[in-house]
Symmetry: C2
Subunit: 589 residues, 2 copies
């Protein structure tokens, strides 16, 4: 008795804990933390920090913000995500794509390097956070599926180009402010090209070459000398950090900032960010809303897809709606601590994974290192040339351009390729968020158009069997007084009229037809409009002296037709379980 | 030889004529005109004219235009349509729905009764004509199918209410200018209700009662006295004309316009309209474009649906794209002759049909009568009270309100009912064209949402047969190491991820599964995004040690998969013609 009670008590406690840990995943991994996981988490935390610190500063510049804002956004948000996120491996902090979109969204509303610009970045993070949480709570995560893979690929490819070109100004050492669109940027670049700073260009090009070849070279060398994979990964991944240190030393030693005019990061305030709260202003929120929606979707997609990919490698699961909530909370925390919009980065999360992170503790360690950096090390970044940061960005996005997908789609499905190209061009010609919206609209319209003319086949009996097949593909037996037609699609408002036109034409072309049999084996549903069309078709056929029959109506479809009285109206005897029985009843054997 | 040549010559001439008459249907019916058709055409022409003359004036008032504009739009447009239209029976002239939309579109841009207002009506007709022709030439008629029957019904019902209420001002004898939205109209009506003109109200109510009861009463009486159907129809349809004559005489005799302040039509300029050409102004065209698109669609839908319905009764055919072109030409002719946008009216076309029209000659006769009316009879309309015209409109639209469809949809399919309600409310709360757009968006999103979670069934073998059925509905045999799943939908970007999640969860819940078999009997197509998802699913399964197989892949789907190299990648031996063979190969018998 006593034992049993304890059992019940325990199981209740367990249930309660399970429920809590469903909402707070940290209870799950935190309370059952295994010591064996610590070395991996520690290494990954350190390695990701070496990648993140330069990246965060670079991405902030990409968004038109001072570099420290990127660092601020890398402290609290990853910790908040560690408490709430269902992925154990993604690294939440600034990402390139979102940073580009943030810059494009804010640039028309305020001048760069003004308090208003900073305030708008906070407000945008807050708005994105609110949208994310709403999406998660209302379980609207499925809306992300409305963006086809073709659109996402075209959109990301164009964004990669836009990001790459946005760094050309830093690589050339030009002074160009944040631009709203790719075309505007190109104009500015074309105008400024004469003022290229040759020292900055050399630094930039050297930086890119270093980032490309150092990991390959060091990996090969370390491998040759018999180092283990666990040692090699952190070292090869440290290329950005080494670049930051090396190029800073170079600028400091040769006074390149003063004598050659090389732009450096300059003074970064020391210390943790103070609490911030964005000024809420209805009109501004409305103005930011389209961009916020687009950034929320793009950020979620990036985080969710990399999270799902890494989870599957560890046989873990992640939950779309909870991910939305966790990312939303992370963005709100960014808004409250002087940051700007964050998401889960693909390359950084992969580094986290391959550096053997086991739990979100790795992200907390990363955040701690960033916090320490902000508190003590910012003066070291004074001489960091912007050209090196630009090189880090260019390298980070160079792998995003995805022409291979376009080629595959072109071969497989021209409509998808067209959606890819629409999203791609729209992003480059108009803006990132308009591009993604237009791409989504194009892929939806093309999908509807594709399904608007379903495959319809006149069928006949194969030999003496009970099988019925397309008369155009098989040698089959038909009767002149019966027309049996199979439609290979569900019936809904977009394709119903096409079916009606097809059937009317089919019976007009065959004046001897007395019975029309609709074979519904591929009809998974019939919507309200299609039902009305079906009724008017039946009435139309009646005036032509043709009777309407159906066969192989699926269970759920039949249930709906019964409920609305359609079956009664048509007559139960006109619906047959199989096409064979229908044909026998219509004396076509 | 000679004979043969002549044959060839004739057949060539015939071919050429066929081709011409395809573009100019008048060559078809005009060159083969049968004398026997004339009496019907003449009667119908006269009967429709008696309906059209009052209607045209009333609808012009509904659009905020002087009554003669409605008459002008009833002269050349129906003649142009008679040359180009593929329907032999529809009556092209002003219609209620379009007139309401024209008024709502122009009201924000110009004050009523100004030359600018008239000019905008011309420009709108020209724009609509251009859109129609473009739609026809580019064969975009299928776009009309994107408006589901539910949306159209909800939209028309709300428009009927809006039109009905817009006439309340005339029925009450109030002075209210053209309004942009239903809500604005209601506000104005509420403010003006105290100034109701009791004489006008009595006239209006009497007019409605006359229009309701005269046709019934006269039909019954004539029937009793043994008159034939052919005589009865013209007489019962003449109610509007009799009302116009009777109420004009009443106002004239009792001087109701002067002593009781009853608003009358007043002076209508005598004579045919002069040629007009709307002032082309890019900004104005842009401002009118959304409304023009909506009016073009609505006008086409109305004309096409009634045309199709009447054509089927006479076993004739109509062509959507050519209809667009014919309606476009009619609208352009309206713009050139001082008219305003026209379409094919449902009720008027039905009158044309039941008065025994045989060819478009009936419409030409109607147009001639309208022209004669404009030339000689306009002074007779001076005393025609606006309340009587309002009564004609109210009667014309009263049958459009379609609550029955909502009730049916509610029972059959809640999503369709929701689309109905969205369109209905949006039309009443915002505007007619926004309502139709929102309704279309709602029905498309609901459709995508509905198809985003397709029916998926785990299947097993029925007894010792070759049939496989849902394990939840049938008693079937399965094996623990094989999971056979049938998906009842085509795979595309919106539902691909759902399928992936479903399958990953399914194999996670069944750790003993070694082979996953996807039964594709209901998969009519796989788009590019779904293909990518499928590939990542297969890779994911591989890391879990599960092999992927497919069965019953349809021909066209297989062709696409072969072309893109998917089959080669997967391995030909992993695709089976039937589920039975697959199960045998996987040792699950």
């Amino acid at each position: 008795m006593f034992d049993k009670n304890t059992m019940v008590g325990r199981s209740r406690q367990q249930k309660w804990l399970d429920r809590c840990s469903e909402f707070l995943p940290i209870l799950d991994w935190g309370l059952h933390y295994q010591r064996a996981h610590f070395p991996g988490d520690l290494t990954a935390g350190i390695v990701v920090a070496t990648v993140l610190v330069p990246q965060a500063m670079a991405y902030a510049l990409l968004a038109g913000l001072p570099p420290q804002i990127g660092l601020y956004a890398s402290i609290l948000p990853p910790v908040v995500y560690a408490f709430l996120g269902t992925s154990r491996l993604i690294s939440v902090a600034p990402v390139a794509l979102d940073s580009l979109m943030v810059g494009a969204a804010i640039a028309p509303l305020a001048a760069e390097n003004t308090p208003k610009y900073l305030g708008l970045a906070l407000l945008l993070a807050l708005t994105i956070g609110a949208i994310d949480i709403l999406m998660g709570v209302l379980r609207l995560g499925f809306l992300v599926n409305f963006l086809s893979q073709a659109v996402i690929s075209g959109f990301i490819s164009a964004a990669a180009i836009a990001i790459g070109f946005s760094q050309v100004k830093h690589l050339l050492g030009l002074k160009i402010t944040q631009t709203e669109s790719f075309l505007q940027l190109l104009t500015y670049l074309a105008q400024g090209i004469k003022e290229t700073n040759l020292v900055a260009v050399s630094l930039g090009v050297t930086s890119i070459l270093f980032l490309v070849y150092f990991p390959k070279w060091s990996g090969k060398e370390l491998n040759k000398r018999g180092f283990q994979e666990l040692t090699i990964v952190p070292l090869t991944k440290s290329a950005p950090l080494l670049l930051v240190i090396g190029s800073s030393l170079l600028v400091w030693f040769f006074h390149l900032d003063r004598i050659a005019g090389v732009k450096v990061v300059g003074n970064i305030p020391k210390g943790l960010p103070s609490l911030s709260f964005p000024a809420l202003d209805g009109d501004t929120v409305t103005a930011l809303l389209p961009a916020a929606l687009a950034i929320s979707f793009v950020g979620f997609m990036e985080a969710y897809s990399v999270g799902k990919f890494l989870a599957s490698k560890r046989r873990q699961k992640i939950d779309a709606d909870r991910e939305f909530i966790a990312l939303g909370a992370a963005n709100i925390s960014a808004a409250l601590t002087g940051g700007y919009p964050v998401a889960g980065g693909v390359s950084r999360s992969s580094v986290n994974f391959s550096a053997n992170a086991n739990t979100p503790l790795a992200s907390i360690i990363t955040a701690l290192i960033v916090a320490l950096t902000v508190m003590f090390l910012t003066p070291l970044f004074y001489f960091l040339p912007q050209a090196s940061l630009a090189a880090i960005i260019v390298m980070a996005v160079s792998s995003l351009f995805d022409f291979g997908t376009l080629k595959r789609l072109w071969v497989y499905n021209k409509a998808d390729a067209f959606a890819w190209i629409s999203a791609f061009l729209a992003v480059l010609i108009t803006s990132v968020e308009k591009g993604i919206l237009l791409g989504a609209a194009v892929s939806i319209i093309l999908h509807l158009w594709r399904t608007s003319k379903p495959h319809i086949a006149v069928v006949g009996r194969v030999g003496n069997t009970e099988h019925f097949r397309n008369v155009l593909r098989y040698e089959v037996k038909t009767c002149p007084h019966v027309l049996a037609v199979r439609v290979d699609a569900s019936l809904y408002f977009v394709n119903a009229k096409y079916l009606e036109d097809y059937l009317i034409k089919a019976v007009s072309d065959r004046p001897e037809v007395k019975y029309l049999l609709l074979v519904c084996s591929a009809v998974n549903s019939i919507d309200g409009s299609a039902l009305e069309t079906l009724k008017s078709l039946i009435a139309d056929l009646k005036t032509r002296g043709i009777e309407f029959y159906m066969s192989e109506v699926k269970g759920p479809v039949m249930d709906g037709l019964l409920k609305v009285g359609f079956i009664e109206e048509l007559g139960k005897e006109r619906i047959f379980l199989t096409t064979d029985r229908a044909m026998q009843a219509l004396e076509c054997v």
